[in-house]
Amino acid sequence: MSDQDDLPKLLGDCVHCGFCLPTCPTYVLWGEEMDSPRGRIHLMQQHADGTSLSGPMVEHFDRCLGCMACVTSCPSGVQYDRLIEMTRAEVEREHPRSMKERAIRGLVFQLFPYRRRLRALRGPLRAYQKSGLDKLIRRSGVLERVSPSIAAMERLAPPLGKAPRLPERVAARGERRATVGMLTGCVQAEFFPGVNAATARVLAMEGCDVVIPPDQGCCGALSLHSGREDEARAFARRTVETFECVDVIVVNSAGCGSAMKEYRALLADDPAWSGRADALSAKTRDLAEFLVELGPRAERRPVPVTVAYHDACHLAHAQGVRTQPRTLLAGIPELTVREIAEPDVCCGSAGTYNLFQPEAAAELGDRKALNVAATEAELLVAANPGCSMQIATALRHHGAAIAVAHTAQVLDASLRGLGRDTLIPHTPRATT
């Protein structure tokens, strides 16, 4: 069945009960019906009934983070995830964007899904960060005046270190229990190379042969979640092909994992690819999900640290992975896990959201930062590069800088007996 046939039924599933409202980040911020899932579904219905896409309508669709918290809270089973994706594709097809919007969107979608382009940016960005020019630029506010989106990109970029290349294959330690493919991602690979290295090590130490295809590309998550369907399908086909050699694909980035689990629906109308896409979706696992299924074998050594665990939306809401990362963290001796208040509310990163909707994203980032700070944890653990950048930036903004790590890095420190030192920098907190 094609999307267009599906739409009236999917819209009809909503009974207007409003249970989604308190979990929607934009409703939490502004308290307006049009910026709630129920209101957006109403707008979609208006469009389906013949009202043309107007500026205000598109504005409210654009403001949706796509965090899927509403999908979790809906008792009627409304597939809002599919609805917003279909709507975004419709917006891309039908709604002319302003020149400025087009320029920014062009920049983002020509940059982030391409590792080589990101890599080319690393050198200049490192030099820029080292020179101290970054502080000057931020103080001047010049970027903010040119484009808030570019200013957001600059602000969010994490401090860059060296980026070691991963080998094509990492052999299991001890008896082999599984052979897994590993997605390295685009932003994860170039901006958080330490996370990928830790992931590969943890998998190997748990007895997995890790296959890391060097020619892998973008999974298409950013495109898919922004309504650029054709682009997303092209990325999806390539990813399907790349990973047909393995039985399990382990993904350490929540957004990517969720997109790959959606290939099934994305390529359902393509007879040549639907079966292959279905197979890929079925064998995709988030790292935490996979490690819990596999069961622990390697010895856990103490990591005496207090962590706050952040639920990435594309892990908790889109993939239903909530307990597994907590189970893994709780299995580490001397480590304490603290819960963050309002765990269901998005941090505002949401893929490209903090680039296209910087103001709303900053408000949500601040809200999350305050909740994280209230836990008084020393380390924030999240399983999505976007969330890590967003929350770290917001905490820095509040003068409450906190160390950030991926679940893989915490496990890596435990399995290798490194203690807390690799996770918590020794440098004293900057005084203001």
Binding site: V15, C17, G18, E32, S54, P75, S76
Partner: protein, 482 residues
């Protein structure tokens, strides 16, 4: 929009800022209905005030312009109580959501009307207190809406309705004055008049709520029966034994099926009815009564009894019940949530009659109810794509209310009359009754601008017609009614 409304919109923008006044037709339409979608009406203007003073100013502007206005909280009402007026202003309180004060020694909290019901409990739970009214929509419904509708919930059998948990309200009267109504003090209990008036007497801007101590212990069980009759027998036996459960809820097979599809609550398979019984209070009392409830359920024919071992299991038992309304969307394209009351003793007879009605008409009816106080929530299912189906469902739904009245009950237990049930009011009340109620209303709102068209079947006395009233005062010549 006509010139008068356009001018009003301009003045409202001056008061609130352009961002908080909505006149764009696409945006306005998202406010066309509340939780009851069968009545729709797009307002002319939506305003999103932040403060009580702003609400008062909005009401004054409306009064001066003779434009009707309707207050709305989270928009979850099930009787169309917040249905907008097509030529009026919708005053949305969802941005007024600050908890202003928590006074634990005084066991009270002061909140703004847009505060979500459950957020009050979340805020005071660390101190060992909670806000007792618990409508199934408590995760989103607003306290202001609870006050307007005098909302109940599963636990009102023991703890009462919203009216029993509101100590004071600051309201904006239809004159645009900010006034405090309190429960204590001599004189007429105007707070009692205001709570449950469905937003026809003014707009709440601040509420002082009573906080209830979290009970020492809570025990919850789920009992599965072959039939509704057997479950109903257990309810009667429990009440007759002198036990006052915190809650006693029943669901029939169809509503269980829906809840299962929605939230996988894993109720016992094959049950014709499940009963949820919750006891709370001091440990020894609960332990003794709980054993008795278990025995009574078994005697009444329960084939499986599950006792919640902890809060997580209790939450799972409740999840099925609390999601039941919306969950029916899983098994039917459309449905009507009915709300009626009968004496508890009439339960088996009325349920049998509902069954018969359903069989005769071919319209499926799922039953969810607060069994302890005889508050029925029949869910009348239909397919809105089939011509005439909605009308047949409406007829069955109306016939169920007739059954309630016939058995000495009421047309609403907790959802309110709103716009949906105003036509049934004459079935319960005489013209003199309705006139008397109207006169109370006229005392607050002689111009008939505050949530007009709700509760009362036809415009009478002070009238429902928007516009500045001229001529005789509505009370004139009506002395014979007193």
């Amino acid at each position: 929009m006509d010139a008068r409304l356009a001018a009003l919109a301009d003045r409202l923008r001056g008061l609130l800022g352009a961002e908080q006044v909505i006149t764009d037709p696409v945006r306005l339409r998202t406010y066309e209905c509340d939780g009851l979608t069968s009545h729709r009406s797009t307002p002319a203007i939506v305003v999103l005030p932040d403060t009580a003073e702003q609400v008062a100013a909005i009401v004054r502007e409306c009064a001066a312009a003779g434009v009707p206005y309707v207050a709305r909280g989270s928009g979850t009402g099930l009787s169309g109580g917040a249905l907008p007026h097509a030529d009026g202003v919708l005053v949305v309180t969802s941005r007024m959501r600050r908890i202003l004060e928590i006074d634990i020694p005084g066991q009270r909290a002061v909140v703004e009307p847009g505060v979500i019901n459950l957020d009050v409990t979340r805020a005071v739970r660390p101190y060992g207190y909670y806000f007792a009214p618990d409508p199934s929509s408590q995760q989103i419904c607003s306290v202001g809406g609870n006050v307007a509708e005098n909302s109940g919930g599963a636990h009102c059998l023991k703890y009462g309705f919203t009216a029993h948990h509101v100590l004071a309200c600051e309201i904006v009267t239809p004159d645009g004055e900010l006034v405090e109504l309190t429960a204590d003090g001599p004189g007429y209990d105007l707070l009692g008049v205001f709570v449950g008036a469905e937003g026809t007497l003014g707009i709440t801007t601040k509420i002082t709520v009573r906080l209830t101590r979290v009970p020492e212990t809570v025990q919850t069980l789920l009992a599965a029966f072959d039939s509704i009759e057997a479950g109903g027998g257990a309810v009667s036996a429990i009440i007759a034994a002198g036990v006052v459960p915190a809650a006693i809820e029943m669901m029939d097979a169809l509503s269980i099926e829906a809840a299962e599809a929605a939230v996988r609550c894993e109720y016992p398979p094959g049950a014709g009815a499940v009963l949820i019984v919750e006891l709370d209070g001091p440990e020894p009392e609960v332990a003794a009564q709980f054993a008795e409830v278990e025995r009574l359920c078994r005697d009444a024919g329960a084939f499986e009894i599950r006792v919640a071992a902890d809060d997580a299991e209790r939450a799972l038992i409740w999840k099925g019940r609390k999601s039941a309304f919306a969950a029916v969307g899983r098994i039917s394209p459309a449905y009507i949530v009915q709300d009626g009351v009968i004496p508890r003793t009439a339960l088996p007879r009325v349920l049998a009659r509902i069954d018969a009605l359903s069989a005769e008409s071919g319209v499926r009816v799922a039953n969810v109810f607060h069994a302890g106080d005889g508050n029925l929530h029949p869910l009348v299912l239909f397919d809105d794509a089939v011509p005439g189906a909605e009308q047949r469902a409406e007829e069955v739904s109306g016939a169920i209310l007739d059954l309630c009245i016939e058995h000495g009950g009421s047309i609403t237990g907790e959802h309110g009359v709103g716009v949906d049930k105003s036509r049934y009011m004459p079935r319960m009340f005489t013209d003199a009754d309705l006139d008397t109620m109207q006169m109370v209303r006229c005392g607050f709102d002689p111009a008939g601008l505050c949530n007009p068209g709700k509760v009362f079947p036809t415009p009478r006395l002070c009238g429902e017609v928007p516009g500045v009233r001229r001529g005789a005062h509505p009370f004139e010549g009506k002395a014979d009614l007193f």
